[in-house]
């Protein structure tokens, strides 16, 4: 009796081992094992969210895998970032964000990662900080803006998003180059800034083109400058700050980033597939609908942009004394 039991036990173990072995041999190809997750360190409904959802709508067909967009706004976005970096480095979970929660926070506070640990995989779009006024305001150009401030310092107020946000930093840089100072009115975001400008509570607003698009179209708002190297397609009549004589260019990319440890070939694979996806006509039409300008870069260029952004941000933050 005992012998039979021992034999059965051995047979069981043998079966088990072979089964496991078979599993190993039949490894699932990337990315077919499980859905791809894109984590956004912001609340749902914002600019990054909308851009990411365009990708998540068109890429599954090309990738043969579902893409899930997950918003984790907790702890100022740090929860989402920490979530991604705690996942296994298999390329299935990545971060989609602008530079704010990832870089600005890392430069000004203690965070649980090094900036060099993150690698940009794919850039979805770029948003450009835009300065705007009500169309009936006397501040029609950057020159008038600077002149007014030089004659009467502190007489104009600017509403921008959160402190040190995408529209705020170019404002700071501009002021230091032009040698002027506005009263800053921080708000919870572009929409609130827009509300204050429309309601005549502040003189100038700083935000991104998508927030003010409908106001511009209706003629209620005028954009007086953009902080990028080239003019923005949806605002053809708005000069860049460089054109008006102030060297400020600080566009914000919305990119997908992977944490260290993910094999390069997987990242290249994803980059290629995402690029193909955004080149399809459905992606282009969805992007046009949502007023999202698709910007496509190769991975080496993306790395350069990433490093440059860190450099620029360091400079600005040093300028305002936030870091040494």
């Amino acid at each position: 009796m005992k012998k039979i039991l021992v034999l059965l036990l051995l047979a069981g173990i043998a079966l088990f081992v072979t089964a496991e072995g078979r599993k190993e041999a039949k490894k699932v190809e990337f990315p077919l094992e499980k859905p791809i997750r894109l984590v956004i360190p912001y609340a749902a409904g914002g600019g990054v969210d909308i851009s990411a959802r365009i990708l998540s709508a068109v890429a599954p067909e090309i990738l043969n895998q579902r893409i899930d967009v997950i918003c984790m706004p907790g702890a100022g976005g740090q929860e989402g970032i920490n979530f991604v970096l705690n996942q296994p480095s298999d390329g299935y979970t990545m971060l989609v964000t602008d530079y704010g929660p990832l870089i600005t926070t890392a430069l000004t506070e203690k965070v649980s990662y090094d900036l060099a640990d993150w690698k940009p995989v794919f850039q979805i779009t770029e948003v450009v900080p835009t300065f705007f006024v009500r169309s009936d305001s006397p501040i029609k150009t950057v020159d008038v803006w600077v002149k007014t401030l030089k004659e009467k310092p502190d007489s104009l107020s600017v509403a921008h998003g959160r402190y040190l946000s995408v529209p705020h930093l170019p404002l700071i840089l501009f002021e230091s180059i032009a040698g002027v100072k506005n009263v800053h009115v921080p708000t919870t975001g572009g929409s609130e800034a827009l509300a204050y400008v429309l309601g005549k509570k502040v003189d100038i607003g700083a935000s991104v083109p998508s927030t003010i698009a409908s106001g511009i179209k209706a003629g209620d708002l005028t954009a007086i400058a953009v902080a990028s190297s080239k003019r923005v397609p949806s605002l053809p009549n708005t000069p860049t700050l460089r054109e008006t004589g102030y060297n400020v260019s600080l566009p914000a990319w919305y990119s997908i980033l992977a944490y260290k440890g993910v094999p390069e070939d997987r990242l290249d694979f994803l980059h290629k597939k995402f690029t193909d996806a955004m080149n399809t006509s459905s992606a282009k039409s969805l992007a046009k609908q949502a007023s999202v300008d698709i910007t496509l870069f190769e991975r080496p260029e993306l790395q350069k942009i990433y490093d440059e952004t860190i450099k620029n941000l360091r400079e600005i933050l040093k300028l305002i004394g936030k870091i040494k």
């Binding site: 709508a57 918003c71 907790g74 402190y163 009263v183 919870t188 698009a213 409908s214 106001g215």
Partner: protein, 506 residues
């Protein structure tokens, strides 16, 4: 005109109606589970916008929104734990009504006043959005400050008892709201190095903790006393229901009419507050509750299960549903997280919210308006069907009910944002709630005081421009509108004059 007819025919297509029904069902369910919110469900279902027809997706999302606004009251009334933050004010009289044996009347009142408030604000959205939005834009940081001071005063004087305790709880609320990163200079406030608190203490877990945990402990303590007091040989009462008689708890049209004044107060206040970008449904609910009590013929009944006290906040929070779209449709400014989500849903379909939206997308916007109105009636239908079930459910003996509700609430809180921070907040907030109860901080005001969490953020913001300019206060600022803030300030002071007579319970 013919566009309107086409819109109506489109909106009544079977597909859209079915999706709206699905949305309402999901919304009521999600709203009723403490910890989960309508916003969460909407965010999770946003990808569907790309997959199904525009009208159907809008219908579903609207259904979820309206359903969840009512659903929150189900849990608030039945279990004393608000299902959504907006239903926190409903707990006051709603739960008391249930304890007095009238859960069905309370739930039905909540339903009817919700629908009334919602229809009211939908009509304002459809016909008056431009003028309303222009008024809303007059509210700058200074005006918001005055509004929050006013509402804090209002809530504080509602205390049946020492006003000082009411003010103290409001202050505790403000303090808790201050925890987090300063919006002006980005400096950490009261964070004690805990990075997880960067965004401040999350509201929903806070409310769930403060409402649910003390209740749990109290019930547990009662049971423990009973167990000790009981001798060995008693027959355990198997009846799960506490002698509840459905016949004595029926809703009637007369009841609806008697609470109509409170409902309309809620509808008006809710629509106004909902139209203000930044002020939300829970603020609307509390102010509605306060105002209804002030003008009521029987204010002393508030807090004891008075149905007016259920009608007002429910109408108030539901009235923000239509109104929250006013700044979005008029100027493209999403005034709340929900409006931002709907804004995203519209953008994903190529509709840019803003002044030119209605002119450029007339047909689909008219269709949206029609769906907006009839979704209310679907909500009504589902409510009427589900309420008797919930009413019976709520009368299960506390010793079974409360632990179950607490477990679900805790799970729901975690499920909402996948955040352990939220869970910790629930537990710690629970302890705070227990402490407050023990020291006879009237539960109502302690909880409403905690409610000012989002408000304090606004107050900090509001004071920042004046801070930057030193002593150059609001009056001198060129862009301020004195009348609104002075009016609110004056009325805040006036609020203090009545209390002596009506609330002299020492």
């Amino acid at each position: 005109m013919e566009l309107l007819i086409t819109a109506i025919t489109n909106a009544f297509s079977i597909e859209i109606i079915l999706y709206t029904c699905l949305g309402v069902f999901l919304g009521v369910t999600v709203g009723a589970i403490p910890g989960l919110s309508g916003d969460m469900a909407i965010a999770l279902l946003l990808p569907l916008v790309y997959k199904i027809a525009p009208g159907s997706s809008i219908g579903m999302l609207l259904g979820i929104y309206k359903g969840s606004m009512f659903g929150g009251s189900i849990s608030a009334i039945s279990f004393g734990v608000p299902g959504t933050a907006a239903a926190a004010a409903t707990v006051e009289d709603g739960y008391a009504a249930k304890l007095a044996g009238h859960p069905n009347q309370a739930l039905m009142t909540a339903l009817y006043s919700s629908i009334t408030g919602d229809v009211f604000s939908d009509l304002v959205l459809i016909f008056l959005s431009i003028p309303m939005a222009s008024v809303a834009l007059q509210f700058g940081p200074v005006e918001f400050f005055s509004l929050y001071v006013f509402s804090l005063m209002l809530i504080s004087i509602l205390t049946l008892g020492k006003i000082s305790k009411g003010l103290a709880s409001a202050t505790i609320g403000l303090f808790i709201g201050a925890i987090g990163m300063d919006p002006l200079i980005g400096a950490p406030r009261y964070m004690f190095g805990i990075n997880q608190l960067r965004s401040g203490i999350p509201m929903v877990p806070l409310l769930v903790g403060v409402f649910a945990l003390p209740e749990l402990i109290i019930q547990f303590a009662k049971e423990w006393e009973k167990i000790i007091a009981r001798k060995m040989d008693e027959a355990v009462n198997r009846a799960a229901f506490l002698g509840y008689e459905t016949s004595k708890d029926k809703m009637s049209f007369r009841i609806y009419l008697s609470t109509l004044k409170a409902t309309m107060i809620g509808a008006g206040i809710g629509t106004f507050i909902g139209a203000l970008p930044g002020a939300g449904s829970s603020l609307a609910a509390y102010i509605s509750y306060g105002m209804a009590k002030k003008v009521s013929k029987q204010p002393e009944n508030f807090g004891k299960g008075c149905l007016e006290g259920v009608a007002a906040p429910e109408a108030g929070n539901s009235a923000t549903c239509g109104a929250t779209f006013i700044p979005l449709f008029a100027f493209g400014i999403p005034g709340s997280a929900t409006a931002a989500l709907f804004g995203a849903a519209l953008i994903m379909q190529g509709i840019n919210p803003g002044p030119t939206m209605i002119a450029e997308n007339t047909l689909i916007i008219y269709t949206l308006f029609v769906i907006l109105i009839y979704a209310n009636f679907i909500n009504l239908g589902f409510g009427r069907a589900l309420i008797p079930l919930y009413a019976k459910l709520s009368m299960i003996k506390s010793k079974f009910l409360v632990p179950a509700v607490f477990a679900i609430a805790l799970l729901g809180t975690y499920a909402s944002r996948n955040s352990m921070i939220d869970v910790w907040v629930v537990l710690i907030a629970g302890v705070l709630g227990i402490l407050m109860r023990k020291n006879s901080f009237p539960p109502r005001t302690s909880r409403s005081g905690l409610h000012y969490r989002p408000g304090s953020g606004k107050i900090l913001e509001a004071s920042s421009p004046s801070r930057e300019r030193g002593l150059d206060l609001s009056v001198k600022k060129p862009n301020c509108d004195p009348p609104i803030s002075f009016l609110l300030g004056f009325y805040s002071v006036c609020l203090f004059y009545k209390p002596e007579k009506t609330y002299s319970h020492g």
